[in-house]
Amino acid sequence: MAGSDRFSFRRAFAVMVKEFLQLRRDKSTLHMIVAMPILQLLLFGYALNTDPHHLPAAMLVADHGSFSRSFVAALKNSDYFDVSREAQSEEEAERLLRQGHVQFIVSVPAGFSRDLVRGDHPQILIEADATDPVATAGALGAVNGALQRVIDHELRGSLAALKQDQPPASVVLHRRYNPEGLTKFNIVPGLIAIILTMTGIMMTALAITRERERGTMENLLAMPVRPLEVMMGKIAPYVLIGYLQSFIIVAVAKFLFAVPLVGSLWLLSLALFVFIACNMAWGFTLSASAQNQTEAMQMSMMVTMPSIMLSGFLFPFAGMPLWARIIGDTMPATHFIRISRGVLLKSIDFADMWVDLWPMLAFLVFITLLAMKRYRRTLD
C-alpha cells in the first residue's frame, strides 16, 4: 500500500497497450506514419539524384577547328548534357543561363584548336547555374571526360607528344550564383532527423492533448497512474514508429537512390533511440501546456521549424552566424544529423559519435524533468 505511488512497469505497460489499440484504429495517423517518409524521400530524391542526366546546356563556340567540332560532338553524345542551344554571342548565352533555359554554358575560346596543337594549354570554360548545386556537381567531370576522349582520339602521330607532359588543355568550372555547393549525400541522413522531428514531436503532442480535448484526461488523472508511467506508455509506441520510419528512409535511400551506407547500422540504431526519445519527450512537454489539438499542432510547428532551419540540414552549419549555431547546438536534430552523416557516410565509431551523443542525452534528461514538472496531476 505504501508503494502505491512508486513507478510501476505494469501501469506504464497498460498505457502502452491502450495507446497501441487506439493507434491501430486511427487509420489517418497510420497512413501518415508510412506515407510521410516515402513521400518526402521521393520528393527530395530527385534533388539528390546522384547521377543527373540530360541537363540543358548551351554551347558558345568561337573556334571552328577540328578539335572544337569533335569536342562539341562528344558533349552532345554524353548523356550528362543536353546541348539544346547554340548561342551566337556571350550576351545571348548569359541570358539563357540567367533565365533558366539552360543550366550550363560551355565556352570554347577562339583559337582553341590552334592553341592546343601549339601546346599553349587552352582552357574550356563552364559556367554553371549553381543555385542547384547537386545538378552542377558532376559537370566538371563530364566535360573533362569528353575533352579527354577527343584528345585521345585526335592527338595521334606527331601530335601524341603533346600528351606526354601536362594535360594539353583544361576545363575551368565557374559555379555561378552559389559558389559553394552542398554535397548530395547530406540530404538522406539529414532527412531521417527532419522526418523524425516533424512526426515525432507532433504525434506525441497530439497524443496527450487528445486526452485532454476528449475529456479522458480527467479520468486518467482520477486513476492511480503516475506521470512518468503515462509518459513512457504514451511514448513507447511512437519509438517503434520512429524506427519503422527510419528503416523506410534508409531502405529507400539504399535501394532507390543508391546512397552508400558505409557505417554500422547498430551504432545508428543506438543514436536513433536517444534521438527519438528526445523528440517524444519534447512533444510530451509541449502537450502539457497545450489546451487543445490545434494549439499542440501550432506549438510543434514552432519548435520543428528551427530544427529544420538551424540543424545544418538546409544550410551548412559552419557557415551560420554564431547565434544561430548556439541555438542549433541546443537542438537534438543538429547532433543527430552529424551522427547519422558520420555513421552512414564516414563510418565513424562510438568514440567519434559520443561528441554528439552526450548533448542529446543531456537534452533528454532536461526535457523529461521539464515534462514531469509541467504534467499536471490535477486539473488546476
Partner: protein, 315 residues
C-alpha cells in the same frame, strides 16, 4: 477502516478560478455507507467540490479528509479507493468496452483481471456488447459502462457527477437500483443530480448554490427546514395570476405545475391572508398542500440568487 465513520469530511473548502469564487467555504460530511444527493443549479460548484474531494483540484483554502486520508497530501491513497464518474463520458471511445475495463483494471493493479472484467460485464448486462467500441454506445449504455469501470476496483466511495443526465427513465431507474445495491454493500455514494425524484431516493441531500452549501440533511429535514407553506391553485388564466401573485410580499415563489400553480411563502399567516384576497375570484380553486421538493428548491434557488446577486453587484 482507520476507525473513520465519515467517508467525506471537509471544512471550509474554497476554490477560485481567476476572480470567480467557484466554491466558497463549503463544509460537507458524508457518513459511510450512505447515499448523498448533491443538488443545485448549473455552475453552483458541485463538480468543483467533487474534484477537490477526489484530489483532481487543489483547494485554495480549507481542509479535510476523504476515507480518512488528507485531501491535500494523500491524493494518491484516495485515488486508489474511490471511483469517480465524470459528468461527461470520459472513457476511451476508440477502445471496446472490454479493452476499457481491462485498462482500468490494470491501472488499479488488480489481480484476476479477466475474471473481474467478465463479472463486471455480466452483472451490468454488457457481456454481449463487450467487443463493441465504447464510442458506438448510446447514452444509457455508456453510463452503464462507466459505472462498471468505476466499481471494478471495489472502491469504498463513489463520486458520481450527474450520472443520469440525458438518460431515459427506464435506464435511470435501473441505474438507481444499482446504486442502492452498491450502497447495501457498504459503499458510500455522493451523486449529483438535477432530478427531484432521484434526490428523494437519497438518504440525505446537500444543496449548493453559487458556491455555497445552502442546506443539507435528510429529505424530510430539508423540507421542514425550508419553513415553507404551499397552496395549490387551479383555474383559468394562470399566467396572468402568477404575475399578480409574484408582486405579493407574502409570496416567496410561484411556480406553474401543469394546470396548477404552486404558491409558497415562509409566513403561513401572511400567506393565508393573501390567499383569502384571491379566493373570492370566480373559477379558481385553492387548496392547502405540502410543499414539494421542487417548491423548496425553487425557493432556495431564488433566495440565494438574491444574496449572490447582491454580492456580485457589490464588487
Amino acid at each position: 477502516m482507520n476507525g473513520e465513520t465519515r467517508a467525506i469530511d471537509v471544512r471550509r473548502l474554497t476554490k477560485k478560478f481567476g476572480d470567480k469564487i467557484a466554491v466558497d467555504h463549503v463544509d460537507i460530511a458524508v457518513p459511510r455507507g450512505k447515499i448523498y444527493g448533491f443538488l443545485g443549479p448549473n455552475g453552483s460548484g458541485k463538480t468543483t467540490t467533487m474534484r477537490m474531494i477526489c484530489g483532481l483540484l487543489t483547494p485554495d483554502d480549507g481542509e479535510g479528509t476523504c476515507l480518512g486520508f488528507d485531501i491535500r497530501t494523500q491524493a494518491a491513497e484516495i485515488k486508489r479507493r474511490i471511483g469517480y464518474m465524470t459528468q461527461r463520458f470520459s472513457y476511451w471511445e476508440d477502445l471496446t468496452i472490454r479493452e476499457n475495463l481491462k485498462f482500468v483494471a490494470t491501472i488499479y493493479g488488480l489481480d484476476r483481471i479477466d475474471a473481474r472484467v467478465d463479472d463486471a460485464l455480466a452483472s451490468l448486462g454488457l457481456t454481449d456488447r463487450a467487443a463493441q467500441l465504447a464510442g458506438e454506445l448510446s447514452g444509457g449504455w455508456k453510463q452503464r459502462m462507466a459505472l462498471a469501470a468505476c466499481i471494478l476496483h471495489e472502491p469504498e466511495l463513489l463520486l458520481l457527477d450527474e450520472p443520469t443526465a440525458g438518460v431515459d427513465p427506464k435506464a435511470r431507474r435501473e441505474f438507481w437500483d444499482e446504486i442502492h445495491r452498491l450502497a447495501a454493500r457498504g459503499i458510500t455514494i455522493l451523486v449529483s443530480t438535477h432530478y427531484m425524484d432521484e434526490a428523494e431516493r437519497c438518504h440525505a441531500i446537500i444543496y449548493m448554490a453559487y458556491g455555497h452549501v445552502v442546506t443539507q440533511g435528510s429529505v424530510k429535514d430539508v423540507l421542514k427546514g425550508a419553513g415553507l407553506d404551499t397552496w395549490v391553485v387551479k383555474g383559468p388564466g394562470l399566467i396572468a395570476l402568477m404575475h399578480e401573485l409574484e408582486k405579493e410580499p407574502a409570496v416567496a415563489t410561484v411556480a406553474p405545475f401543469g394546470d396548477s400553480l404552486h404558491v409558497s411563502g415562509t409566513d403561513p399567516a401572511a400567506l393565508a391572508a393573501t390567499v383569502e384576497k384571491y379566493r373570492t375570484r370566480e373559477g379558481y380553486s385553492w387548496q392547502k398542500s405540502e410543499p414539494s421538493f421542487e417548491d423548496v428548491f425553487i425557493r432556495y434557488m431564488s433566495a440565494t440568487a438574491d444574496t449572490a446577486g447582491r454580492n456580485i453587484n457589490g464588487r
